[in-house]
């Protein structure tokens, strides 16, 4: 019985993922060309900046280190706060020092992973949320003219979520001692890259 | 499973309003025959659409000139337009023929071009693509895809076929029996589809449609009977009924694959892919019905008594309605 239900679940998720990837393709085929391309643009965008990619993965890694419930609270919080930041950008509310903020987020989040810091849950959520605003403000608003805002947003949000997922998946090595060490090494790398970004932003 | 299949009927009835009569609409055809180097004979057969002349028009390339007087003849099931044109010495390669008005219909138009050297080109214009391009040989997969889509289309539009399959689903108990029943229906209609398409036998459309309706009418009481726990030959061996009536439905599928003037070499290929399309559509329907039935069980829906009795009566009464309607058409056709 148990085996059968696990089997069912596997098939279910497989179908879900298949749908997930097949559906945008069919939308693209039918919606007007200029509009549909927005989804692709949105999907690609979060991958285009290394600072963004590293910070996202750091969120996933940290969540994996902290375990439940941070593991899921962080990925649930992040997209919503990030879109709040993007909305600020869309409404024309300026946010000073965006580049610096993003670089600092990579340093701090990388540092957290490096030190395996375990703050109280709400502090972790607020820290991640605070930086999410910067990321949203910087990246959520770069829609090329003539493309559909909704499709761009869908692509953008989904790609960000996938980056978290990658971080969490990488974080599963946390259960082995060697893996723990590797994670901290990754944190160090992200923090170091953060310093590079900071130097670029200031210089 | 059976008690949970109920609401599918409600869904089906939604489709009925839109598509019930659709199945009886015939495809149109356009035949272009090369007479001399730059002269072509053009025959456009526009099917009668819901009792009226077909809304679609034929629009030829502008630089083609009509020679002589175009003719128009009315038949029982179609209007046939005929003319001879001259291309003025230019090639017809890459020319586009349009069918304005086709987008508002559910008709497919088969376009066939025969050249002096005996080569034949076939293409289809449809509501989503209201034009046809004249060109040389096509790669095999283009033809395959075309007929696959046609078959898929045909079964999803054929509410009577779907209703028959639904009736079978309501009767069968257990996976093995389901598998047997669906397989024998498939085998049976494939046989007659092939026989009819390859020209070995032919079933005139009006009596055929009436007979198909009768097969649905037949299933109605059987569904009710099986629900009440009674048994009968059909309930014990549903695959037998599926096979017998499947032979009938195969002739019906053949009416969706107009082969008038199709080159003999292409026929088996088109037949194969048309059939694959039909099976695919049928599988999608069966799969959807089973998943829905599973969902109803997972949500633990308890249907009231009247709702449980609904499917059998719906299958039966729609079958009866179609039987009467189509018999009347049949009689009208005779007198």
């Amino acid at each position: 019985m148990k085996k059968k239900s696990a089997h069912m679940h596997f098939i279910f998720w497989l179908l879900l993922f298949a749908l997930f990837f097949a559906w945008p393709a069919s939308v693209l085929a039918h919606v007007e060309q200029g509009q549909a391309i927005g989804f692709i643009t949105g999907l690609e965008h979060p991958w285009s900046g290394l600072d963004h990619v590293l910070a996202m993965i750091a969120v996933g890694l940290w969540g994996a280190q902290l375990g439940n419930p941070a593991l899921w609270i962080l990925p649930v919080t992040f997209p919503m706060v990030m879109s709040l930041g993007a909305m600020m950008g869309l409404l024309g509310i300026p946010l000073p020092g965006i580049e610096i903020g993003i670089a600092v987020s990579a340093i701090l989040l990388g540092g957290m992973v490096l030190g395996e810091v375990r703050p109280k849950l709400y502090i972790a959520a607020m820290l991640v949320g605070f930086f999410a605003i910067f990321h949203g403000h910087a990246h959520g608003t770069e829609l090329p003219a003539g493309q559909s805002g909704l499709l761009y947003s869908m692509g953008f949000v989904i790609a960000t979520g996938v980056l978290h997922g990658i971080g969490i998946l990488m974080g599963t090595i946390h259960r082995w001692p060697a893996g723990k060490l590797a994670l901290r090494g990754a944190g160090a790398f992200i923090a170091a890259m953060g310093f590079v970004f900071l130097w670029q932003a200031v210089a | 499973m059976r008690s949970s299949l109920v609401v599918i009927i409600v869904l089906i009835s939604g489709f009925l309003f839109g598509t019930a009569a659709a199945h009886e609409s015939q495809p149109g055809s356009l035949e272009i025959k090369q007479l001399t180097r730059d002269r072509y004979d053009i025959t456009w057969r526009a099917p009668i659409y819901y009792g009226k002349p077909h809304p679609a028009q034929l629009q030829l390339p502008q630089d083609w000139q009509t020679i002589g007087q175009p003719t128009e003849r009315r038949r029982v099931d179609a209007t046939v337009f005929h003319r001879v044109i001259s291309t003025g010495g230019k090639s017809i390669e890459g020319k586009i023929i349009r069918f304005p008005g086709l987008e508002a219909t559910i008709t497919d138009v088969f376009v066939r071009l025969t050249r002096l050297d005996g080569t034949v080109m076939i293409t289809v214009a449809r509501p989503t693509k209201t034009w046809a391009e004249l060109r040389g040989e096509r790669p095999w997969h283009a033809t395959a895809g075309e007929y696959l889509g046609l078959g898929f289309h045909h079964i999803l539009m054929g509410v009577d076929h779907l209703l028959f399959v639904l009736g079978l689903l309501l009767i069968v108990k257990g996976r093995m029996m389901l598998l047997k029943t669906i397989t024998s229906f498939t085998v049976a209609h494939s046989i007659t589809l092939a026989i009819a398409t390859l020209g070995y036998a032919k079933a005139p459309l009006p009596p055929l449609n009436a007979a198909i309706a009768l097969s649905i009418l037949f299933l109605g009481p059987e569904v009710v009977r099986s629900r009440q726990g009674e048994t009968s030959l059909t309930i014990r061996f549903p695959w037998l009924v599926a096979f017998a009536f499947g032979l009938l439905h195969g002739f019906g599928f053949a009416s969706g694959l107009s082969t008038t003037g199709m080159p003999k070499a292409e026929l088996p290929w088109a037949l194969l892919w048309f059939n694959v399309g039909v099976e695919l559509g049928q599988l999608v329907f069966v799969f959807l019905a089973l998943v829905l039935a599973w969902s109803f069980r997972a949500l633990e829906i308890r249907w009231p008594r009247w709702a449980q009795a609904l499917p059998g009566y719906t299958v039966g009464s729609l079958g009866a309605y179609w039987t009467i309607q189509r018999t009347v058409i049949l009689m009208g056709g005779l007198f």
């Binding site: 039918h30 993007a86 950008g89 949000v157 | 939604g14 559910i106 989503t128």
Partner: protein, 204 residues
């Protein structure tokens, strides 16, 4: 119970009507032609319009998270409300320019992400309200195309979507799968926020 439902609907209708009156705009709907008649055209419209499909799926996810009884409620109220809204929309003249759909993205998305429990009648009211609003917009969009038959097709498709998805979610056992659903909910809410942002930017 009935009163609350009624009040909810009344409130929502008020919002819709006032928005429609304040912000008239051109109906920028993309109609789909499947070549298989109006019923299938309606289904095609639903499947290819993310503004409608995503909230419909979200509603099903939320109903599934809440359990069997809400799943059944949503299964019947939601498509029917959608149809009702659709027939109201067929008679409407103007398309509201504010992305009303963003509200349902936001609302249902947050409810999923927070895995919030609602009293049964509030839940039913929510399903009905979201359904009526989307149906209303669909009705306006489909008026020039498939019309009422298209709406019937949409209702049938919604019924199938809600039944299958909520049944899947109801039968999920491992705890992490619920979390995946909640994460998806937060994505939907984020999309809603962004839609509102794009509207004010004038690029919705």
């Amino acid at each position: 119970m009935r009163r609350t439902l009624f009040n909810n609907m009344l409130f929502l209708l008020g919002v819709i009507v006032s928005a429609a009156l304040l912000l008239p705009a051109k109906a920028a709907a993309h109609l789909v032609t499947t070549g298989m008649g109006p019923v299938y055209d309606g289904i095609g419209h639903l499947l290819l319009t993310p503004e409608d499909l995503v909230p419909a799926i979200a509603m099903a996810l939320y109903a599934g998270l809440r359990g069997r009884a809400p799943g059944r409620q949503a299964l019947f109220y939601f498509p029917l409300a959608w149809l009702l809204g659709g027939f109201i929309g067929l008679g409407a003249e103007i398309m509201p320019s504010f992305p009303l759909t963003a509200i349902s993205f936001l609302l249902v998305g947050i409810l999923i992400a927070a895995d919030l429990r609602l009293p049964a009648h509030v839940f039913a009211g929510l399903a009905a309200a979201v359904g009526i609003m989307h149906g209303f917009l669909n009705g306006i969009a489909l008026k020039t195309g498939p019309g009422g038959l298209g709406l019937l097709g949409i209702m049938a498709a919604l019924f199938v979507i809600v039944a299958i998805i909520s049944a899947c979610i109801v039968s999920l056992k491992p705890p992490w799968t619920r979390i995946v659903v909640r994460v998806a909910g937060s994505w939907v809410a984020a999309m809603g926020l962004l839609m509102i942002g794009w509207f004010f930017r004038g690029q919705g």
